[in-house]
Amino acid sequence: MNGPRAPVIRAVGVGHVFGTGETAFTALHAIDLDIRGGEVLLLMGPSGSGKTTLLHILGALLTPTSGEVFLREKPIAQLSEEERGALRLKRFGFIFQSYNLFPMLTATENVLVAFDLARADLREGREKARALLRQVGLGEKLDAFPNAMSGGQKQRVAIARALAGDPEILMADEPTAALDAQGGLGAMELFRRLAHEQGRAVVIVTHDPRILSLADRIVRIEDGWIVNTPEAS
């Protein structure tokens, strides 16, 4: 799964304004951005720069007020809320800063929820959930509850859950913020494997300078504008 790839997501002139009238605030200005499969892309910028808003729009969580987003060349910006939900379920995997695992469900059950949302057979789903957890290195924690796991382990459960729908695109919000240096690098290595070995597009919003060297591309955003998109070394 190496070599140049067609864009999975293409943002064309995407802008977003919060509020109306005198209180209106422009979070994004005419963003153009391609995201390709097999790459790890970092969205970086200071707080309030618009990077999270861009992640919401690219992830079909938020409708832009201008411009269009194409997923495999199909426009998705104007889909209804339920249609966007169905799209996220099939094509996207999300990893959140605070993991957002159900505390009363085991690791396997937390992953199984994603299969359940997709109406998959639960028996097969359970096997797949366990396989995913083994794949992210949690074979020993299949039946553990989140409160018995470290931050890094919870992060891996969240990653396994995000992978349950076999998504083309993984979107992560500050995935290393709550992890120590070793845990952060471990998570990034996992993201790189998912991108490079499985061809997924991985989009990460981060402030963490420790992981810059592990990205394929870095997009810097300031005041709602993309200021540069260097390829990481």
Partner: protein
């Protein structure tokens, strides 16, 4: 590639099956949500159990009242009843001319019409203490209006043929000072002898029914103007195949100055008088509604708090692409499980109270329809209680999970 990874790849490569009908995880999540916070679960269960207990006992009393207020009518075995015009309830009987019985017998479709006397009396115990009673007088050969559930002593006909013989109920034996068959007492200064016991012939007014022959009932009916011919009702049985309503209409046309009622009509008229004209029913129904309301408020409050605690997880599910209906199912299932557990405890309490008070004169009753009905109402109330939580879930913004 490690062995774990190889196994994982093989399993993940399989195509997922999607079924139209399937069990899902909403029940598990709902149950774990409840069980995760035991204190909140306890509050929910106690609230619902308390509401079930109060509602069950109140409605059980109501059922008992509807039975006891019309006991004589319901167990009389008649198809129709003739009573004085404007009769409010069977216990507040007023005299009726005896000719009404003969007029009834002359009406087409009437198979039998019998004299029946119900009158207040004063029961005097050997120690001189007096109790108010209802004296029920019927002919020894009567087909209708006889005592029922006889458990000791002579059979009804033999008991009513016995001079001075009376039949009392075991539930009121202590109140009347009766220990055994053969004891003698006085009714309105006339000597009577206990010759039989019934069991469960309850009275709403707490003045026990004492069955005796029509002749004896008339002899003690000192308050009536013409006791020798006194009757208060004419129970009627229609001829086989004759429509009850048609016969009732004929009798009413024949005797427009009396009330002719079917047994169900007389029964409900008797119940309605005590339950609604006196306010007793309104009190019971309103306290049942109040109990339900308290249960709903407690369930709604705890469910709402639980939902608020889980908002980040619910927002996560929405962000992942989960539908609102999936979240609704979790919350509603949570409400139903909490309601079911509370209901089981509450109903166990109701049945315990029913069992412990089975020998009381006015015990709550718990027929199967009431047990199941309260369960249904409780579950419906719990779903109602989840509406506030569902509104909260409807407004979840999936982007909130990124903040």
């Amino acid at each position: 590639m490690s062995r774990d990874e190889a196994l994982a790849s093989k399993i993940l490569a399989a195509r997922p099956s999607v079924r139209l009908w399937r069990t899902d995880l909403t029940g598990l999540i709902a149950w774990r949500n409840l069980a995760h916070d035991r204190m909140r679960l306890a509050v929910t269960v106690i609230g619902i159990a308390f509401a079930t207990l109060l509602t069950g006992i109140q409605l059980g009393m109501l059922v008992n009242f509807t039975h006891t207020t019309a006991n004589l009518v319901d167990h009389g075995g008649a198809d129709l009843w003739i009573a004085a015009h404007g009769i409010k309830t069977v216990d507040l009987a007023t005299p009726l001319e005896e000719r009404r019985r003969f007029q009834a017998l002359a009406t087409e479709g009437v198979a039998s019409a019998e004299p029946y006397l119900l009158n207040f009396g004063i029961w005097k115990k050997p120690n001189g203490v007096r109790e108010t009673i209802f004296v029920v007088g019927v002919e020894p050969d009567a087909l209708m209006g006889l005592p029922w559930n006889l458990v000791d002593g002579l059979k009804p006909r033999d008991a009513l043929l016995t001079p001075d013989g009376v039949i009392v109920d075991t539930l009121y034996a202590k109140k009347l000072g009766v220990d055994r068959i053969g004891q003698t007492f006085e009714i309105n200064d006339h000597r009577v002898r206990v010759v039989g016991f019934t069991k469960g012939v309850r009275t709403f007014t707490q003045s026990p029914y004492v069955f005796t022959s029509l002749r004896k009932a008339r002899s003690v009916a000192v308050s009536l103007r013409n006791p020798d011919k006194a009757i208060t009702y004419v129970p009627i049985r229609v001829a086989p195949g004759a429509p009850v309503e048609t016969v009732r209409a004929r009798l009413a046309a024949h005797m427009p100055d009396v009330d002719v009622m079917t047994t169900p009509e007389f029964s409900s008229r008797s119940s309605n008088y005590w339950l609604f004209s006196t306010g007793a029913g309104l009190t019971i129904v309103s306290s049942s509604i109040l109990a339900l309301f308290v249960g709903v408020v407690i369930a709604a409050q705890t469910l709402y708090a639980s939902t608020m605690d889980r908002l980040p997880e619910y927002a996560t599910l929405r962000a992942m692409g989960g539908s609102r209906s999936y979240l609704y199912r979790i919350v509603i299932t949570q409400a139903l499980i909490g309601g079911a557990i509370g209901y089981v405890f509450g109903m166990a309490g109701v049945l315990t109270v029913v069992w412990l008070s089975r020998e009381a004169s006015a015990p709550p009753e718990a027929p199967l329809w009431l047990i199941l009905g309260i369960g249904g109402v409780m579950e419906a109330m719990c779903v109602l209680a989840s509406i506030i939580s569902l509104r909260k879930i409807t407004k979840i913004n999936p982007t909130e999970v990124f903040r």
